[in-house]
């Protein structure tokens, strides 16, 4: 069992959790992910590692309420436990030898960009961190971003904060498809990259953004949408939060 040592609501649909998982904290690097199960009947879901503290033995995850499992996860409070928490999985981001880097993230995806930016910044690299959100109310981790960058640019789709801009010109992308074991066994996480089938869990999760077939990835990601909607409806109304 893995204890939740901190929970912070970042915006109405995005939550941060710091979880005690010393074995994961000891080894993990930016760009990697974990798989967790909330309880005994729980589904295995992959989440990117947003931060880690090797001394405290904790790993931080940031998740958006998108389906039944993230809803269930959001019901857990500080001091409570998660059933399973395994990792680190996937390959780490290659940061060695980089001098000046633009790190780009949008929405909850900024949680993926954050540890990479922090690592680069800690290593003395000049980091231009460009993050985008739909509007001002959805901005998360502003202070953390400031501390992890040389130059921070925040944009919003509607111009309610910073520049009115969309974050679209990507090179390296971190993919988070549907996944079960995360160790290269089930093949559920496959993506088309440059016309070849790749497995996000062991070949990724990062790929060249110009080569990923996003239409296919989005269609595959929506595979269980009906099930998720139904499962969310069945969870307690008291806890339910609006997903816009």
């Amino acid at each position: 069992m893995y204890r939740i040592v901190k929970k912070r609501v970042l915006n109405p649909t995005v939550t941060l959790m710091e979880v005690e998982a010393p074995a994961v904290a000891r080894k993990c690097e930016p760009g990697q992910f974990i798989i967790l199960r909330v309880d005994e009947n729980g589904e295995r879901i992959p989440l990117t590692i947003a931060a880690y503290d090797r001394e405290k033995g904790t790993v931080t995850i940031i998740f958006q309420l998108v389906g039944a499992t993230t809803e269930k996860l959001n019901h857990k409070e500080e001091g409570e436990y998660l059933q399973d928490f395994v990792g680190p999985l996937g390959k780490a981001t290659e940061t060695e030898g980089l001098k000046r880097v633009a790190v780009i993230g949008g929405g909850v995806g900024t949680a993926i960009a954050y540890p990479v930016a922090k690592k680069l910044h800690d290593d003395g690299c000049h980091v231009d961190l460009i993050v985008g959100f739909r509007n001002k109310d959805l901005i998360i981790l502003k202070e953390e971003f400031e501390a992890a960058s040389t130059n921070l640019i925040i944009g919003t789709d509607d111009g309610s904060y910073g520049k009115k801009a969309l974050v679209t010109d990507l090179t390296v992308v971190s993919m988070n498809p549907i996944m079960i074991d995360g160790t290269g066994m089930c093949g559920g996480c496959r993506l088309s990259v440059g016309g070849e089938t790749k497995f996000a869990c062991v070949d990724g999760p990062e790929f060249d953004g110009h080569l990923v077939d996003f239409d296919e990835a989005m269609a595959r990601g929506a595979m269980y949408r009906d099930f998720e909607m139904h499962a969310r409806e069945e969870t307690c109304n008291l806890f339910k939060q609006e997903v816009k």
Partner: protein, 472 residues
């Protein structure tokens, strides 16, 4: 004088009509009377041909003699000398190509039902024996086992019985490997696997779940920092194979591994499980492949209410699955489209509505008919495409059961570990890899094979590890 009845005592089964709607065990097992009667068919041949057909060399005539006497616990003890998982092997071993294929009774008539007797004995022991395994005194040597499937559990059990301090590292949240994520409940109840795992724990084996060796910790770290003197790699099957035909990434195309994991490990078919699976009631499912895994996927689909087709490019005679599994599948209403090969998976696309949720889902399978030509390198007749035979079938789901290639994780994080061109770890006859004190066995070495072969490899490696460490 042996019982000269020509045929085996038939195995009692759940009715096919009933069982195709549930996940309960299909074969119900012998009664005491049936077991004794069957055991009396054994001729007790001096040269014991059956033993030569068993990968772990169980003393078959000896245990059968005890069954005939009605001393089932004694029979169990004889099996347990050589096999760590008799309740499992009695169910999933292909006895017809192993021990039973060598049985003298099988020359003219049917062989003795060795597998059925093994299962009976193991089940009898599990139900009636209260004896706890005795934890031996530690010999102070630490051994790490990677993976808790059949090879890992066997290796761990053999070493623990000799006093080694064994830790098994499992990547998933539950121990058992393919026995829990792959083989369905109706063929191998999970309570049986749990019982075997619990037995190992009583012997002192530590099982650490949620540890992915290669990521959470490397083999070098296990040996240099954690004090393990030897490592056994039993990490099992790896990435599923696909056909590289158009449409394989459509929604509704599963690898058999993913499909079976959702059902067996994650219990997606049960109320209360958070793990989703495509609703299959009244839908059409094609399972591509002809092995035991294909049969498992097909029979699971059937239990979820689908009309199921097995699509296999050779003829029925070449099906690699056990005859018994094919028979069971047919009884349950699965349709065999042999000598057919898929060329494309067809996807739904609504040109009027780009947001139609059905877009990108499987709607059909395009196949060609095949005929058999000259034998190929595998000795089986090569399937050749029949000119102009292309046709389409309506389909909602396609499951690829074509085998796997070994998991790339450990080889990519362990320096000096040599692998062959198919990705399997190279080992010598003792199971030793190119790295000192690192052994391997099971599917990680051979590619997809059977439970009993993996157990045999775990056993061989355990003996070699004991040989190496006891000299220290």
């Amino acid at each position: 004088m042996a019982n000269m009845r020509p045929d085996k005592n038939p195995m009692p089964h759940q009715d096919p009509q009933v069982r195709s709607g549930n996940f309960e065990e299909v074969a119900l097992g012998y009664t005491k009377e049936q077991a004794i009667d069957e055991a009396q068919r054994c001729l007790h041949c001096k040269n014991m041909p059956c033993v030569s057909g068993c990968p772990v060399k169980i003393h078959i005539p000896d245990f059968i003699a005890k069954v005939a006497e009605g001393d089932f616990e004694a029979a169990y003890q004889i099996i347990a000398q050589d096999s760590a998982l008799p309740a499992v092997c009695g169910r999933v071993c292909p006895q017809e190509t192993q021990c039973e294929s060598k049985c003298v009774r099988g020359i003219k008539h049917e062989s003795v039902g060795i597998g059925r007797l093994e299962r009976f004995v193991a089940d009898w022991h599990n139900a009636n024996s209260t004896e706890k395994p005795v934890r031996p005194a530690s010999n102070g040597h630490k051994v790490a086992v990677i993976g808790s499937g059949p090879s890992g559990l066997t290796c761990a059990g053999d070493l623990a019985r000799k006093g080694y301090e064994v830790t098994v590292f499992e990547a998933l949240h539950l121990a058992g490997g393919v026995l829990v994520y792959g083989i369905p409940e109706f063929r191998l109840p999970k309570s049986i696997v749990q019982k075997e795992v619990d037995g190992l724990k009583e012997l002192g084996v530590k099982i650490e779940t949620n540890v992915v060796v290669g990521r959470s910790i490397t083999i070098d770290e296990l040996m240099e920092q954690e004090g393990f003197e030897a490592v056994f790699i039993g990490s099992g099957a790896g990435l599923p194979m696909f056909m590289h035909i158009p449409g394989e990434n459509l929604k509704g195309v599963y690898s058999a591994n993913e499909f079976l994991t959702r059902i067996n490990l994650m219990k997606a078919y049960k109320e209360g499980s958070d793990t989703p699976i495509m609703p299959l009631k009244g839908k059409k499912v094609a399972v591509v492949g002809g092995g035991n895994v294909a049969m498992d996927a097909a029979r699971c689909s059937r239990r979820l209410g689908a009309d199921v087709y097995i699509v296999y490019r050779r003829s029925e005679a070449e099906l690699p699955a056990r005859a018994e599994e094919v028979e069971h599948a047919k009884e349950e209403g699965i349709i065999f489209k042999t000598l057919n090969n898929p060329t494309e998976i067809l996807g739904y696309n609504n040109p009027e509505d780009k947001r139609d949720p059905k877009n990108g889902s499987v709607c059909g399978l395009r196949c060609v008919e095949m005929e058999l030509g000259e034998p190929d390198a595998s000795g089986r007749r090569r399937p050749i495409v029949k000119e102009g035979s292309e046709f389409e079938m309506e389909m909602d789901c396609v499951i690829m059961a074509l085998g796997t290639s070994p998991n790339p994780l450990i080889k990519s994080t362990t320096k000096g570990l040599e692998i062959n061109k198919r990705g399997g770890i190279i080992v010598n006859e003792d199971g030793l890899t190119s790295r000192e004190a690192v052994y391997a066995g099971g599917d990680a070495v051979t590619g997809a094979a059977t439970v009993i072969l993996a157990m045999g490899a775990g056993k061989t490696a355990a003996a070699a590890i004991d040989e190496q460490l006891s000299k220290k």
